[in-house]
């Protein structure tokens, strides 16, 4: 169990969670990236940005 970086609510990771995976906070809906699993560390997942060209 860890906490949402956006609202502080508890976030439970499933047993086979992997670093880099994106999970949702069921309380505030924030998208969170799993930075580490042992111990669990979450960060707000990167948002999709707009860019030019190819």
């Amino acid at each position: 169990m860890t906490t949402c970086t956006e609202c502080g609510a508890d976030v439970a990771l499933h047993d086979d969670a992997e670093a880099g995976e994106i999970v949702d906070c069921t309380t505030c809906g924030a998208e969170l990236e799993v930075i580490d699993v042992s111990p669990p560390v979450l960060e707000k997942a990167p948002e999709l940005e707009e860019d030019w060209g190819e």
């Binding site: 670093a19 880099g20 995976e21 994106i22 997942a45 707009e50 860019d51 030019w52 060209g53 190819e54």
Partner: protein
């Protein structure tokens, strides 16, 4: 070099492909050599040979296919592919240090007219953390191409260098028709070493033609030139941008979700015989997800009061989820290399759109370089970013194998 016009691109017996170490100096030598070898669309042969020689030197199967693509099949758990061609442009090739002084300038030359380009493998340019490579293609997309070639050799995954991306995408069209789908595709374009591109808008081109009888220019009747200019404005207004009717500037954050209308050629005037005024306009449309070429054609037809419009083949938009294994592998790899990953959707179109449309597999785009330098006269790539991109690609390949 091996040639195999009938090859399918699949590993012949499914056996594991040997991996081979590539030093930082050799990896930098590859990208510097390729950038110094002119490869505008349709003239990629010399660069393709240099790329193929790199694979051969590491005991990898490689050949040039019917259209000139460099094919190096191996473990199809992942296909790295980028384009060999560049846009035209005489951008002198050199390597500079942190103070912008030339490094090894005597051996890194712009060889627009020559064949022999060599770099010393013991030169400081090939190990200096602050070195910058200048030259056409260093960003779009020879840097990504070379980084993928190195990572493919190091990890034993499949690789293709395609031709003519900057013009017709003939190499990518041939590839999807000639090869089975891999498990995952990473297309090589400059996202920056710490970013992953997940989407591109689609594309369709159209040609508008109109003619009127020749008349004295003092008469008020609209001639073909006026019909053509009015048609352009009507079409732009029909695809109302968030910046207002007719506005198509790309500095709005939601441009990706809109149709961009861009006239790229106008040919108009009185015919040589003097009896008619004609006008022709080539126009390009960028298509967001959720819109297809039929929608574009219907909207254009509705505002075309005079003249005819012919549409070319369309390329659909492409947008991938960030929640795939491929996305996860990139985020992990970028963080492991010291970066903070970002995700991009681009307002242009790339070969990734074609791979996404043809193959039922995850597709994303990645490569070192600042895409604002695409096609510019000061195109350059920090070689430390190139090194990091190689490390990220190797990590992603190892993760997905």
């Amino acid at each position: 070099m091996m040639t195999n016009a009938d090859a399918t691109g699949a590993t012949a017996d499914g056996s594991a492909v040997a991996t081979s170490e590539v030093s930082t100096a050799e990896a930098r030598e590859l990208v510097a050599d390729l950038v110094a070898t002119p490869s505008p669309s349709g003239e990629e042969a010399a660069a393709a040979e240099r790329l193929a020689a790199f694979f051969e030197s590491h005991d990898r199967e490689v050949w040039l296919d019917d259209v000139g693509n460099v094919r190096a099949p191996a473990d199809d758990a992942l296909l790295f592919t980028s384009h060999v061609d560049t846009v035209p442009g005489d951008v002198p090739t050199c390597i500079t240090d942190a103070d912008a002084n030339l490094t090894d300038a005597e051996t890194v030359v712009n060889d627009a007219g020559g064949d022999d380009v060599t770099l010393p493998t013991d030169g400081t340019a090939l190990v200096d953390d602050d070195a910058t490579l200048w030259g056409r293609g260093s960003v779009d997309a020879t840097g990504p191409l070379a980084a993928m070639a190195v990572a493919a050799v190091e990890t034993g995954v499949s690789f293709v260098g395609v031709v003519s991306e900057e013009t017709t995408s003939a190499g990518a069209h041939h590839l999807v028709a000639d090869r089975d789908a891999p498990d995952v595709v990473v297309n090589g374009e400059p996202s920056g070493w710490s970013a992953l591109t997940l989407g591109y808008r689609g594309f369709v081109a159209a040609t508008y033609e109109v003619a009127t009888e020749a008349a004295h220019s003092s008469l008020p009747d609209l001639n073909a030139v006026e019909h053509a200019t009015a048609w352009v404005e009507d079409v732009k207004d029909a695809f109302e941008s968030p910046l207002g009717p007719g506005a198509n500037a790309c500095d709005d954050p939601s441009v990706f979700d809109t149709v961009t209308v861009k006239p790229v050629m106008v040919d108009a005037g009185t015919e040589p015989g003097g009896n008619a005024v004609t006008a022709e306009v080539d126009c390009q449309f960028r298509i967001p997800p959720g819109t297809d070429a039929d929608d574009i054609e219907a909207t254009v037809d509705a505002v075309t009061q005079r003249g005819v419009v012919e549409f070319g083949d369309a390329i659909p938009a492409h947008i991938a989820s960030p929640r795939t294994e491929l996305g996860r592998a990139f985020r992990t790899a970028i963080r492991a290399a010291g970066g903070s990953p970002s995700l991009l959707r681009k307002t242009g179109t790339a070969d990734a759109n074609l791979y996404d449309a043809a193959w039922d597999c995850p597709v994303a785009t990645y490569g070192p370089g600042d895409s604002t330098l695409d096609h510019s006269p000061d195109e350059h790539l920090a070689l430390a970013d190139y090194d990091r991109a190689v490390a990220v690609l190797e990590s992603v390949a190892s993760d997905l194998q």
